[in-house]
């Protein structure tokens, strides 16, 4: 609700200022939403024991609520994740999910994945830059609320923590949404 009102003012102002032929670019600091609820850190264990989750609870991002008739040109995702490995040698795969239905976040395919090789007692930083998300996912960012989930899966006998240090989404709206 608050996002709608704030964006309403901002978007209205944008129209008043004459962005009719320019693009509207939304730079969303997704990390700030996750870190506010301590959802930016996720332990990983390999092999995963039964009953141990490899995901964070689904988090909510107040998004733009522009409307389904608009067209998202590109959704660029940038950020970085640190794999703070405690023991073992193997690989960790870090996956990020988006959906507009909270219950469906982890049932679909991940928006993107980041993998990193880990060694005992070392921290592996894995920056990522996804130029554009798959077309099917772009309309999600027109909704007023977007849910995000993170999964960290390990191969090998390893244990550690995946710490997200940055996650931004740059959304370019192609059409005149006013």
């Amino acid at each position: 609700m608050r996002a709608k009102w704030l964006c309403l003012v901002a978007l209205t102002a944008a129209a008043a200022a004459g962005c009719g032929e320019g693009r509207a670019i939304f730079d969303i600091d997704v990390f700030s939403f996750l870190s506010a609820t301590d959802a930016d850190t996720l332990p990983y264990v390999g092999p995963l024991p039964p009953g141990v989750p490899d995901t964070i609870p689904v988090q909510t991002i107040q998004s733009l609520g522009i409307g389904s008739s608009s067209l998202v040109d590109t959704v660029r995702i940038t950020g970085s994740v640190d794999f703070v490995n405690a023991t073992g040698t193997g690989n960790v795969t870090f996956q990020v999910f988006f959906d507009t239905a909270k219950s469906a976040v982890y049932t679909g395919t991940p928006a993107f994945s980041v993998a990193g090789a880990v060694t005992p007692g070392a921290t592996t930083s894995s920056p990522f830059d996804i130029p554009d998300l798959p077309t099917a996912l772009k309309p999600l960012f027109l909704a007023s609320t977007v849910y995000v989930g993170i999964r960290a899966s390990a191969t090998g006998t390893i244990q550690g923590t995946a710490k997200l240090t940055a996650l931004r989404a740059r959304i370019v709206i192609q059409d005149k949404f006013f």
Binding site: W5, A14, A15, G22, D29, S32, I66, K176
Partner: protein
């Protein structure tokens, strides 16, 4: 949601563009456009705002004033060519992806009566929104300078009907009158947020001051206009009118409207809360009529090649409304209105309008200037025309209510009692800081 945003966006667009719109006018005479909007003789605003001009000879032969001017609306042809299926044109359909509010607003502000030969470019820069869990910042880029810093709005005072009868300069009639005024001013927080990209703050009000008034009625009027010195070729003219204003109804609202941020911008327990508070006062038609007395005065002096006039309207026009209701409305998540008082007396005041004009005619050359103020700042026109045989060349310059300079130029061709005129006029009443140029054409019958 989109429709709501679009609707509100268009409203704000219109509001934001109201200042430039009010500074312009809809002139149907290409001659006047060619002279930068200058009023000469009994044309344009002179007779409306200077009661003495009712007695001044039309002097059609001297300044080439036509009896009738018929606009040639080339702009409508252009518009219909560009938008042949207006009812289904996606650019005008808010539900369409191709809906273009800039086009809609520009069409309203620049009614397609005349041909737009140079469209004012709208900013094409990207607009960036930076959003975080506890942050919001908007960067409008070069377009930020279009966010109005000062008060903006639309106001007008008109006299739609004035039936009556007269004898030897004396006239008795009944004049209809309408006054409307809508004003907005962004308060500092919202102005900084939009114009200076100041990040949104916690627990802060963002909004606009709003004011609106509309009132209407009729006024039995006794007026006089006549020449008190000189003859038909020149003289000193005076005019005056006494109005007894009868108010049929009025409404006025003043207040603040906007929203208040919560403890965090995009999270936390307190969402952004719409917030509005107004004091509304009104006297509906059917209540006791309002009343007041006011008047107009004007003088005009014509001597040889020189013509000078000054007129003032609605002097002392204060309307007393004896049966007014006052309501205080407060909105925060829910609306409620509290009656403050009922059957109380309130007063409104019609804006004083004035015009001053000067014209100088020598041979086939006419030069002139006028200043018109209708209560929202002065508009200045300076221009002239040179007649050379069948041809006329015109030029002029104007300063509008926003103190912007606009230019007019044009010409005409006259065959006996028929004339064809063309006038070019720069304007900035588009959503742009650059000028566009309109070409007006009209047919004149002499």
């Amino acid at each position: 949601m989109r429709t709501f945003v679009v609707g509100l966006g268009v409203v704000v667009l219109l509001g934001g563009a109201a200042a430039p719109a009010a500074a312009q006018w809809l002139v149907t005479d290409a001659r006047r456009i060619g002279m930068g909007g200058l009023s000469l003789g009994r044309s344009g605003s002179l007779e409306r705002y200077n009661p003495a001009y009712r007695a001044v000879d039309a002097r059609a032969d001297r300044r080439g004033q036509p009896k009738v001017t018929i606009p040639i609306p080339l702009g409508i042809i252009q518009f219909l060519h560009d938008h042949p299926h207006l009812s289904s044109d996606p650019a005008f359909d808010p539900k369409s992806r191709s809906f273009n509010p800039i086009l809609v607003v520009n069409t309203i502000l620049n009614l397609p009566l005349y041909l737009e030969i140079k469209k004012a470019p709208t900013p094409t820069n990207d607009v960036a929104f930076t959003i975080g869990q506890d942050s919001l910042m908007v960067n409008l880029g070069a377009a930020a300078k279009l966010v109005p810093e000062d008060q903006f709005g639309i106001s007008g005072s008109s006299r739609p009907l004035s039936p009556g009868f007269g004898f030897k300069g004396l006239r008795v009639g009944v004049m209809g009158w309408v006054h409307n005024d809508a004003e907005f001013q962004l308060e500092d927080n919202l102005l900084g947020f939009l114009r200076d990209s100041v990040p949104a703050q916690h627990r802060t009000f963002y909004g606009s001051f709003v004011h609106g008034t509309v009132e209407a009625g009729f006024a039995p009027t006794v007026s006089y206009a006549g020449r008190i010195a000189g003859d038909s070729t020149g003289g000193f003219y005076v005019g005056g009118a006494l109005h007894y204003y009868v108010g049929v109804g009025y409404g006025r609202t003043d207040g603040l409207a906007g929203f208040i941020t919560g403890d965090t911008i995009f999270a936390g327990s307190n969402p952004v809360t719409p917030d509005g508070r107004t004091l509304t006062q009104y006297s509906k038609p059917g209540n006791t009529l309002g009343h007041g007395i006011g008047g107009d005065i004007g003088i005009a002096w014509v001597s040889g090649p020189i013509e000078i006039g000054v007129g003032v309207n609605d002097i002392g026009a204060t309307i007393t409304w004896p049966d007014t209701r006052l309501d205080s409305a407060f909105y925060r998540d829910s609306t409620y209105s509290v009656p403050v008082a009922n059957h109380v007396e309130t007063k409104t005041k019609l804006p004083v309008s004035y015009i001053a004009n000067l014209a100088y005619t020598v041979g086939n050359t006419t030069l002139g200037a006028d200043v018109l103020n209708t209560g929202r700042g002065s508009v200045v026109h300076v221009g002239g025309e040179q007649r050379v045989g069948l041809f006329v060349v015109r030029g002029g310059v104007a300063r509008d209510q926003r103190k912007r300079i606009e230019f007019g130029f044009g010409g005409g061709l006259r065959f006996g009692g028929l004339g064809l005129d063309v006038g070019f006029w720069t304007h900035t009443n588009s959503l742009s800081n650059e000028r566009g140029i309109t070409m007006a054409t009209s047919l004149s019958i002499y």
